[in-house]
Symmetry: C2
Subunit: 141 residues, 2 copies
């Protein structure tokens, strides 16, 4: 596990296209919607949503496996609901986990979500108090 | 400008590799460090840092242009400093902006940073109170 968390970004055109990277990962393109940008990349809000969704999904899989469960798949759909107040941040994130497993039961997921929020998912901790998180889940055998 | 902020993620192996996307953007690979994952993608923390860095950089460029300034380039380096307390979220983000411009002066950047924090950058608003942001900048003619 690495403790190095650094990111580099660079403006790539005369509008708002940025390319960013961390470690040896592929570049991520970030851009804003027209007319200010060309819409050819993720917005900061979309990456925040991806960050939260991936962090919470990772911790759910980790925690369910730690309970001895077998996870055959996990699909996540998340939606950020924007506030009307500037800077129009997300007031709520609605996130749905579709878990493929033959031995996971609802109480396991409820427990994993609780632990994820309280002490396992760092991104959840960083938006706490500012963004309401509304999770739901489905277990597919 | 779109109001649709949705993200989809899917677990892609028997460890912790996820692939995520939003709109028609390229997939982003997310993974965790070995041995739990294979380290072949961004962590949630790295994407949070990218999200914040890109959001604040976008707003700084937007605001400086709104002041009538010409931005020839912007490079950003940011570092997330982790807390010792679980879930080891960032307690601080140290971010350095290198602005290439012939007409931007220090006071312009200070003003843009203030506006970005207060009312322009939504990601900044979402981590407010939980993460300290320490910005610095350099202007290169």
């Amino acid at each position: 596990m690495s403790d190095s968390f650094t990111v580099s970004l660079s403006l790539k055109n005369d509008k708002l296209l940025f390319k960013g990277s961390a470690r040896d990962n592929d570049y991520v393109s970030m851009d804003y919607f027209p007319p200010l940008g060309d819409g050819k990349g993720y917005t900061g809000l979309e990456l925040l949503l991806m960050s939260f969704s991936g962090c919470s999904a990772t911790s759910i899989v980790f925690l369910l496996r730690k309970m001895g469960k077998t996870i055959l798949g996990l699909d996540v759909e998340s939606e950020g609901v924007k506030s009307d107040v500037l800077p129009n941040a997300f007031k709520e994130i609605v996130i749905a986990y579709k878990i493929k497993s033959k031995d996971v039961v609802g109480d396991d997921v409820i427990k994993a979500l609780k632990l994820s929020e309280e002490s396992v998912c760092p991104v959840w901790a960083m938006i706490k108090g500012n963004v309401k998180v509304s999770p739901s889940f489905e277990i597919i055998a």
